[in-house]
Amino acid sequence: MGAPMISVKDLDFDYPDKRALIDVCFFIEKGTITALVGPNGSGKTTLLRSLAALASPIRGEILINGFDTASQPQEVHSQVGFLQDLFGLYDALTVQQCLQFMAYSRIHGNHDPGPALEKAIGSTGVSSFLDKPIGTLSRGMRQRVGIAAAIIHNPAVLLLDEPASGLDPEARYELSRLMVQLGGEGMTIIVSSHILAELADYSSHMLVLQDGHVVEHRKIAGTSSFRPEVWMDMVVAESPGPDFPSRLRAIPGILELEEKEGRFQVKLDLNTTSKATFLRESVLAGIAVAEFAEVRTNLQDEYIKSVARFKQTRTP
């Protein structure tokens, strides 16, 4: 494994009245999507602001793609796109003007911001309302412009603080798709949200914060970094027999196979196969498939368990 994209060591962050982050340590690999979860006041926003080199901790070290937020904040800013929970945009400008301003102010002078601008507009689907003043946009449209502004310089790391809050279901679905797309392009993303079910759709990892502590940081069961791979749950109708694993492995597109309490979980490479193709090939191989469904992690349950475990360890 190479150097992590984000490395946080021994981080303490103080506000005058409280310590918001306590001895926070974690590493995040390139190309992963991390769901940052925790109750209100757990330190999520403070952590994101520290990662974006906008707030300086009292102790500890944060490296973003090798750059230190304390001594190289400008370099960190060039690596990071950050959409805050309560972000502002220049309401009197049109979407086009605002994004042009963002592009020219974030991309180094020698580079033509045109292509990056076009890409950000294309990715976020804001092209249909480029001429509208920002002040007249709906919450969902505004959020998309905010994300376009955050990714306009093609950052290595994207930090999103509650990006789905206040969005209607359709806009949330679009946001999920965008996350998957950006993750697929190799961007390392941290998303903080209260809507855990949606985070599960696209997150590969979960980082749980509670009272300023990292309670848990791990890969979410059954998910991979992003969608080119998917875990499927398979139940067979008859006893599979001892040669079942080898029969299954012979089907193209399978990456991993696990057995759990009589159920099988297979990890598929969606670059070489599709769910439907794999199912058809399984049936043709004589496997009596009774159930075949994508593994969906219940992030809510996992979060509750993590917090409960943390509370137990803190009980004297």
């Binding site: 080199a53 009292i58 001594s71 400008q74 800013h77 950050f82 309401d91 963002m102 974030r106 502004a149």
Partner: protein, 458 residues
Amino acid sequence: MKGILRTNPEIARYLWLELSPQRLIAMPGILALLVFFVLTISGEGEYWNSVHYLSFYGIIIIGFLWGMKNASDAILDEYNEKTWDWQRMSNIGPWKLTLGKLFGATVYNWYGVLLCWILFMFSAPYTEAPKAEIQTGFTLLFALVAFHGIMILSALLLARRIPSGTRIRSNRIFLGGILFAIILSTLFSLFNLFQKTSISITWYGISLNYNSLLLLAAVAYGAWTVAGCYRSMRAELQYTDLPDWWLAFFVFNFVFQYGFLLPNGMVFDQAALTQTFLVLFLEMLLLVYMLALSEQKDIVQFRKLTASFRKRHFNSFFRHAPLWVVSIPLALLAGFAALSSLMVRDDLSAISSLAQSLSVNSKAEAAAYFFAVLGFVGRDLGILLLLHFSDRRKRADATMLVYLAVLYFVLPSLSKDLRLAPLFHPDTSRGLPALAGLPLVEAVVVWYFLARRWGKIA
């Protein structure tokens, strides 16, 4: 527009916002109407004079009053509308951002000022003192830059100390700016600096009329204000700087002011040196108080400061150090230089009128007076920090202002008959030990409590 976007995106943004075709037409249209109105009510032969005064007040209203508001809003709007972090993470750079704020946010004001200024300069030859008026015209432009810069600096200062999420109103800064302008113009009036007479002032032996002097001061301090904005912007964009520019400003002030106090034809004069250091000491003390009351002073900042100092991370130390802390050594430097310079002389003639008004009759008294001042400054700053490190720190600066009023005005007048004056301000009436000792004891007591408090919260 792409060229401007590439050169300075911040300017381009303000051009989009400020210069619509309607506004571009409205400004000259309204000014033309005003000129027409003034001409119709002016008597014969008074036309040019009337236009001249109209354009002068146009510059004051459009450039100073309105422009100062826009300059402070250039920063405060970013905070209030939550767009400042985009700027802080941008690649614009501190210099372009400074110029963008200074001339972009006020571009429409500059447009109006330019139109008025053309009228002002064209009408100047028809006034009583054409040369002085033309100099005034240039002075106004540089003063405008300085005033806009001061507003931006003040807005940055205010914004840093207000908790995030709180809406900041520009009224306080704007009123402060207007008050500053009124005080400045009152001082000028007191010293008859607005009169178009042939008073001349010598600066390093060069004879200057006061219009030239005003122009010189406006250029110099205008440049320093822009430099101050640039450095503040660097701090906002998290560049780490040593206080070298602050030191340069200190040296500049010394050199600039020494030139006025130097007797004609001389390059060195001990008395002028003492006076200059003394003036500089008082100026720096004033700055220490003003900055200490206006800059952010939270516990976290001081924790970072002490941690950086202990680890000898001086870059980090200066990044977190408030300007008032950095100004203290400079004030002390000027103070001790003034005292040393005074001590090597035979008498107090270098500061005779000041010594007389303070009832200081000997060099020993002058030295004790100096230490008394240091004691009171130490006490006051200690109280200020105690208030900020306490549990009820929300209105600590306002409370400190009340304490200062009580300590320097209310208590001395209440205890007049008890002859306790040396407890409240430097006073020579009770002898040298009381003059210097009491304030120093007060300072030590306050700092003892401060150290105890710090021990609990650090």
